[in-house]
Amino acid sequence: MYFPASHLWIIPALPLVAAAIGALVPRSGRALASGAAIASMVAAFFVSCLALHTALADPAAHAAHNFAWFDVGSGAMRLGWLLDPLTAFMCVMVTFVSSLIFIFSLGYMKEDANFKQFFCFLSLFAAAMLGLLVANSLLLLFICWELVGLASYLLIGFWFHKPSAAAAAKKAFITTRIGDLGFLIGLLWLYDSTGSLLFFDGGHGVLEAATLTALTGKTLVCCGLTVSTAIGLLIFCGAVGKSGQFPLHVWLPDAMEGPTPVSALIHAATMVAAGVFLIARVYPLMSADQVLANVPLHALTVVAFIGAITALLGACIAVAQNDIKRILAFSTVSQLGYMMLALGVGSWTAAIFHLLTHAFFKALLFLGAGSVIHAAHHEQDIRRLGGLGAKMKITFATFAIGMMALSGVPFLFSGFWSKEGILHAAHEWDVSHLPLYAGLAAVVLTAFYMTRLMAETFFGKSRSHESGHAHENSAVMTVPLVLLAACAILLSLLAWPSPWLQHQLDPSAHSEPGGISLMVLSIVLVAVGIGSGWAIYGRKPRATEASPDPLETAAPDIIAALAARLGFDELYAATVGRLNSGFASLADFMERWIWGGAVTLLARFGEFTGVVNRETDENTLNGGFDSVSHQIRGTGRAYSRAQTGDAHGYMRFIALGFVVLMLFVMLGGSR
């Protein structure tokens, strides 16, 4: 059945409608809100499958449907939908994982007063995430990118009455927004230099050859970078923020303040992988400078090194965490680093394959952690758990599958194949082998910390009242676990016996099978990781929650530093935070004393002029005027004494005047 690109909007619209329903029903409408959310997500899954079916019919075609959003001057800002295997695979994954997590949430959030709001936010998130995937325009992608950020903010802060949750939500929003500003500038630059933001537009899109050639043809005066490199690196800033890459990874562990289904969906499987998707989507732009040999820097080189650093850093820090969700969060940071590494070394298909497998097994691990937390009355500290394997058999079994997939236990588990693809690509990279070494080191660490997590949580004896009374959860929570576990295994088929998925994603790429020696090496490393983890934590399980960690006794300084996340938060608070509040104080100071002061000064000057003016008037100008008027008044008073009102007196004066006048006339006349 053919599915046209012009109908792709249906996929994000379905959860959007569910979100609107969730927003409008009263608080008691729990069944309606959750029912709408799950139904819309299942429907979106089937539509996505249809879209995938269509996309695979012609994997190399980028079926696009563009439309005008609004007019700008004589042109218009156009957006569009895009259907290709990348979009379709991602949509299927997101809708499938979301459906299961939504169902799991029915059980997990059952007692929450804001149950219906939770499903409203989840649906909003799913709508934005799917919109991000089907976008054929960097602007539309950016819009949805910001909206998944909003959903993430709302869901991290879902228990907003907890100050730590409110703070974590803000931290996540601000940290990712720092990266997003780079993304925005890159987007503006791209728009300014190409006049379009559409990916594919019949030869005029920004990912099509003509545009890319024009972009690589321009070089910046200041540093010799090509424009495409600069734009690519700016866009990469957004991915660094969203995907928790070093140095903006600090928000992701704090985001675990959100309910566990949120951590599983947004902060493990889908949203945090959006950065990887973004780079894969604009890969032609990111790799456009590869054809040039004489440039100072290739954009992808930066991507590879950032990814390698993140992969290693996340794995190291995860070793020393004690909160079950924090361990998984740092593991996510590390795995996202792997994906970036793969993108950087030139194999975007390996990155997407790992993204897909990781989404399933990491969602599985988080939901398994959720199942544990729910059963153990919200106890998250692995030192206080223990012995849950016997009490929660389904959770234990599925979690074990997830753990083996993440650790890269060979052959049966999807994680092995996808990680193998990345290591192989890193091995092939001719710029440097450092990312490969970082990746290999992270393999050991991953196997180690996951074994530790398993041993502490599920083996040994229960070490607290909460975990002692835990029991397996209801089917609404265990069935999603089983399905995800099945996927964690079955996805192996996408890569074995032949790399089918990678071929579908990029038919032009010819991938030869990886070297046997590298595979053997990584299998040995996994064995070392699991073996040492088991030797340290599994053979002799911890007795009480207070008993010391063997690693901590061996190397207290290193473990303490790792437990404190290497002090990145403190470093940022002391630098960026201090700078920021200093600048705010400066702005406020200038408001009060400089700009405000200038006005006050002007006002005082006005007042002063007024005073001077009055004094002059009173004492000099008015002085003369006053004395004249004083005399006039005196004369007036003298005259007024004559006004007696006595008619006889007046007659007398008139008679006297008459006589004087007569005399004057007569005397004058005689003269």
Partner: protein
């Protein structure tokens, strides 16, 4: 249709309401007074929608023109007209004004005087947007000060008297410079008609005529008019009157001041300064860009330091309006029609969107004040979302709109401004991004302190919104979604005008 003077009706209908309230308000009950005020205030929206229906968006010139000889000896004509820019602002006034009165519903003291002054203010502001002759344009311009002064002084907070005097004296001083400038223009050209002056400027006849008075006159007149407008917007650093005026005014007046009156300055820049003095503006643009950037960045950072929520929103207004000026100065500084069209569209859209979001935020702070008996400190609340989820939801929409979240109205305008400015002055766009970050920071801090966390002392007794408050905030929220998703319904009103401007850049 030419027989009905619809623009005069738009301007004077609120004044008729003001007159009725002043004459007969004493005999009416409080609710009847409020309803009367609301009806006359709402007349603007109804008439504006009629005009939208009859308006020909494809034409760039003035429409619905009215012209009558007035003072023939001075060659002054009563002339009104409307283009996409005026229509946009009339529409904004029509939307915001009734909601200001709704937000003032709880005022009990002298409701008829309040209503009459408010309608007087509304009519005067509409006059500014529609008048096409400097003579009565300036009358309207200065007339807005009188009711605004009394609204702030009589119904404002504890520092209201000082704030009201500061506001009026500062703005009057700016206005005096502008008046002097126009007096010189009149002496030089013998007309005060905007269209005539624009024509003169476009053909290059204006500068020589001014220069005939004396060599420095073209610059002096430019500076005079510029000062009057810069104070009104306000352009950094002429903004110091604003935070205290906005903070001390009663809620409804704050909403109108920021929602409508702050647009008068930007309107003046677009209608008068830019068309009449393109060469001078071009010469000054590099410096002015820095001032606008100062407003963007320092405004946002200063907002971060405010503990008075109204002052915080006031500073965010400075930040948002500085984006408009940034775009305008960028357009004046360089010639690049595509980017200019984008920047100018963004300016117009930002004026409209800021009117909605800032007014809504002031309404929200007003609701907090009403609940807490006048408190509006950043740290006076906590956990409001727990006790008043509906209020939190609607205030959240306003906050994210102000923050420029895509999907709400603020984003499209800011995006267009940034994309235009990037094309004209890339470094300015990059620096202005700092303002975006700082805005997110202080708004989310506000949200965190007031709405999140444990329920604060005194907050527990808060009730959620009542019917009047819902009717005040809900229209804002609906419009924010509407214009966020479908900006075209506004853009179509002014796009041909903007395209013409961009195509005729000097």
């Amino acid at each position: 249709m030419s027989s009905l003077p619809i623009l005069s009706l738009i301007v004077f209908a609120p004044w008729i309401g003001a007159l009725l309230l002043a004459l007969f308000g004493r005999n009416l009950g409080a609710n009847a007074r409020r309803a009367l005020g609301l009806v006359f205030s709402g007349s603007t929206l109804v008439l504006a929608l009629v005009v939208v229906g009859l308006f020909n968006p494809a034409a760039a010139g003035y429409q619905f023109g009215e012209s009558h000889a007035w003072i023939t000896t001075l060659n002054v004509n009563y002339r009104l007209g409307l283009d996409g820019l005026s229509l946009l602002l009339v529409l904004l006034t029509g939307i915001v004004s009734p909601l200001c009165l709704m937000a003032s519903w709880r005022i009990e003291r002298d409701t008829h005087t309040f209503g009459a002054l408010f309608l007087l203010l509304q009519g005067a502001a509409l006059g500014v947007f529609l008048a096409l002759d400097f003579f009565h344009w300036f009358l309207f311009w200065e007339l807005t000060l009188v009711p605004a002064f009394f609204l702030i002084k009589l119904w404002g907070g504890p520092g209201a008297t000082r704030a009201a005097y500061q506001f009026v004296i500062y703005t009057l001083a700016g206005g005096a410079f502008m008046l002097l400038g126009f007096a010189a223009l009149y002496v030089a050209t013998g007309t005060l008609d905007f269209a005539e002056l624009t024509r003169l400027a476009a053909t290059g006849g204006l500068a020589p005529k001014l220069a005939a008075l004396g060599g420095f006159w073209p610059t002096a007149v430019f500076v005079g008019v510029f000062l009057g407008l810069a104070v009104k917007v306000p352009l950094f650093p002429f903004h110091t009157w604003l935070p205290s005026a906005y903070a001390e005014a009663p809620t409804g007046a704050s909403m109108f001041l920021t929602g409508v009156m702050s647009k008068m300055g930007v309107y003046g820049f677009l209608r008068i300064l830019w068309p009449l003095f393109p060469a001078q503006l071009h010469a000054a643009a590099p410096c002015l860009l820095w001032l606008a950037l100062g407003g963007v960045v320092l405004g946002a950072f200063a907002a971060m330091k405010q503990t008075d929520l109204k002052r915080m929103v006031a500073y965010s207004s400075i930040n948002h309006l500085s984006y408009c000026l940034l775009a305008l100065f960028a357009v004046a500084s360089a010639t690049k029609p595509d980017a200019a069209a984008s920047a100018l569209s963004g300016t117009l859209l930002q004026m409209f969107n800021h009117g909605l979001s800032a007014a809504a935020l002031f309404a929200c702070v007003g609701i907090l004040e009403a609940r807490s008996g006048g408190l509006r400190g950043l740290n006076d609340f906590g956990g409001v979302r727990t006790v008043a989820p509906l209020f939190a939801g609607l205030c959240g929409v306003a906050m994210f709109s102000s923050l420029g979240l895509p999907g709400l109205n603020g984003f499209v305008g800011e995006f267009l401004i940034f994309s235009g400015v990037f094309g004209l002055a890339p470094w300015a766009a990059a620096v202005a991004c700092l303002g975006l970050l700082a805005t997110a920071l202080f708004l989310l801090t506000f949200w965190q302190r007031v709405f999140h966390g444990p329920v604060g002392a005194g907050v527990a007794a808060f009730r959620d919104l009542d019917r009047v408050e819902i009717l005040t905030l809900l229209p804002f929220a609906i419009l924010m979604f509407l214009f966020g998703v479908l900006p075209q319904i506004v853009i179509i009103l002014f796009n041909p005008l903007v395209t013409t401007w961009a195509a005729h850049l000097p």
